[in-house]
């Protein structure tokens, strides 16, 4: 079931100005319930702008957007978006700048209370969200402004999780997180997606961190969507990544090298060191054959090179001899 449909939406920041370029150009998308989407693109490609359309913070300048049962048509400002926003949780970029209450507890309870929960329910949701992002209950009483950057970020993500949204939209949530928290966060999102059927839309400029977790990939470049599809399709078309100025993940480079040099096509990209080890065990026959072939090929070509080199050497010495 499609929960979000974009039909050729465009967005311009300052409407009055002619010089202002479009931040989004003719974007058409369909997001399905219960999938993990990764929006990948270079800086300034319109990822954040697109994301903020999903709960009506920005509304399209052109085109039509539907999120759940709310329709945003160009030119008509939709108000009263509270019901939609209780279903769509949005974590902005630099989430540490979005905390505003005196204590972490109050900040976490703000959303649930706004969406109609009573104090007890809100507190329970707050604790649950805090534990989910890997912080313990001791944080509840602290002021959000005395936390470290990474802790603030986790709290900010928890503030959105506390409202229990069906669609969770995150704008570069892993930037500035340490590697451990990074993988933990992605694992948490994946769990929410798989176990509870929530839809995740995550923006990142690092494809490698979502390569294993995401079901669908959306590439953006200069305000336009240049590709949507699954991982398998993406792996087959690395040129798209280069065109969109996205760093090709090492795993994809490795797969590419293997198919180039050994002639083995890596169709389903293994993830992580263990994944690659498994892959190697599974394909050990093909791999060893390929390696043998590669070894003979390279020794043959070396032989060829020396063969080529020697006659010239002879003629040179002949000339000298004369």
């Amino acid at each position: 079931m499609a929960i979000v449909t974009c039909e050729q939406i465009s967005y311009q920041y300052a409407k009055a100005s002619i010089h202002q370029p479009l931040a989004l150009i003719d974007v058409s998308l369909r997001l399905e319930q219960g999938k993990f989407y990764a929006i990948v693109g270079a800086t300034g490609s319109g990822k954040s702008t697109l994301l903020q359309h999903l709960n009506g913070i920005y509304q399209p300048t052109k085109g039509k957007l539907q999120v759940y049962d709310v329709v945003f048509a160009a030119g008509a400002k939709v108000k009263g978006l509270k019901p939609l926003r209780s279903r769509v949780g949005l974590v902005f970029q630099f989430p540490e700048q979005q905390l505003f209450e005196e204590t972490v507890e109050k900040d976490l309870m703000f959303g649930p209370i706004q969406f109609g929960a009573d104090e007890q329910q809100a507190r329970a949701a707050a604790v649950e969200a805090l534990l989910a992002v890997g912080l313990d209950e001791a944080f509840m009483a602290r002021s959000p402004f005395e936390l470290s950057g990474g802790q603030m970020r986790k709290v900010a993500i928890a503030t959105v999780l506390a409202s229990n949204p069906e669609l969770i939209v995150l704008d570069e949530p892993t930037a500035t997180l340490d590697p451990v928290s990074r993988t933990e966060l992605i694992a948490l999102l994946k769990r929410l997606c798989v176990e509870q059927g929530r839809t995740i839309v995550m923006v990142t400029h690092r494809l490698d961190e979502v390569l294993a977790a995401a079901d669908e990939f959306i590439l953006m470049q200069q305000g336009a969507v240049t590709y949507t599809g699954t991982r398998a399709d993406l792996i087959r078309s690395p040129h798209l990544l280069q065109a969109a100025d996205i760093v090709v993940p090492n795993e994809m480079k490795l797969a590419h090298e293997i198919s180039e040099r050994l002639g083995i096509v890596v169709d389903e990209l293994p993830s992580g060191i263990e994944g690659w080890a498994d892959w190697l065990i599974h394909n050990s026959d093909a791999a060893s054959k390929a390696v043998d072939r590669y070894a003979t090929d390279s020794s043959a070509s070396q032989q060829e090179q020396t063969d080529k080199a020697s006659p010239r050497g002879m003629t040179e010495s002949d000339e000298k001899g004369e």
Partner: protein, 263 residues
């Protein structure tokens, strides 16, 4: 929010006002302030208005923009007007409600006060509209130089003012970010009733203040790590050049101000 914040922003254009020396503009502003304060009659205020209108209209910036610059001060102006109307007892009594009386004098004084305020805000906007921050900084430093005699460093003050001006849009951006986050969590500023709007704005105070302090601290460290030393002798990439038109500009204001003081 960004579009509405027009006060204190440079507007690029080619006009004789843009070409003027910032020192001349700053001095002229002070003279203008004195003139406006000294003007007591509608005729005097009308002369100043005509005078400033001519300059505003030739500044290459649409008049509407100056009008918008005064917008944030409208509530203050309304308050000033009311204050005069309600508490001035001289003149013919037009209306009396309880202990309050509305008199002709009160209305007149109230109108003058608003008029003066408008003149000041619109006209002083010309300074920030037509002068780049760098020029303004250099100009301020030059104008404040005499303060050195009483042990105040003009460099420190201009640096402070420049930084303060530079961070106004940043702080608004930060507040806007929090408003967006609150909207996403169910408290949309635009959908709320007036009382709730007030409450929401109060919640901005702490994070924005904390953010400003954090920013200031980071800025100090960044400046020091790049070798900034307070009151060190500095060279300047740009130099101000005083021209004939600058002298003429100042003379115009001296005549205006002298006229207002004498009359």
């Amino acid at each position: 929010m960004d579009e509405r914040m027009v006060m204190g922003r440079y507007v690029a254009a080619q006009s004789w006002v843009h070409q003027l020396d910032p020192r001349a503009k700053l001095t002229a502003m002070v003279l203008f302030l004195i003139a406006v304060i000294c003007a007591d009659y509608s005729l005097e205020l009308a002369v100043i208005t005509a005078f400033s209108l001519v300059i505003l209209m030739t500044s290459g910036i649409p008049l509407r923009r100056y009008g918008r610059a005064s917008k944030p001060l409208w509530p203050l102006m309304a308050f000033m007007f009311l204050f005069y109307v309600l508490f001035e007892h001289n003149g013919d009594v037009w209306l009396s409600i309880g202990s309050f009386t509305v008199t002709s004098e009160g209305v007149l004084l109230g109108l003058y006060a608003v008029w003066r305020m408008l003149l000041l805000v619109c006209f002083t906007s010309i300074l920030t509209f037509t002068t780049t921050p760098i020029e303004l900084n250099l100009g301020l430093e030059a104008v404040l130089k005499p303060l050195k005699l009483i042990g105040v460093s003009p460099q420190q003050w201009t640096m402070m003012i420049t930084i303060a001006l530079r961070f106004i849009p940043t702080i608004f951006e930060e507040a806007n970010k929090i408003l967006k986050a609150q909207a996403s969590r169910g408290a949309d500023y635009e959908d709320l009733k007036l009382k709730e709007k007030g409450k929401l704005v109060v919640t901005l105070l702490v994070p924005v203040t904390v953010g400003a302090f954090r920013r200031a601290e980071e800025l100090v460290m960044a400046m020091e790590s790049r070798g900034y030393v307070l009151d060190a002798k500095r060279t300047s990439l740009r130099y101000l050049t005083w021209q004939g038109t600058d002298t003429l500009f100042i003379l115009l204001f001296i005549v205006l101000t002298a006229g207002m003081i004498i009359l």
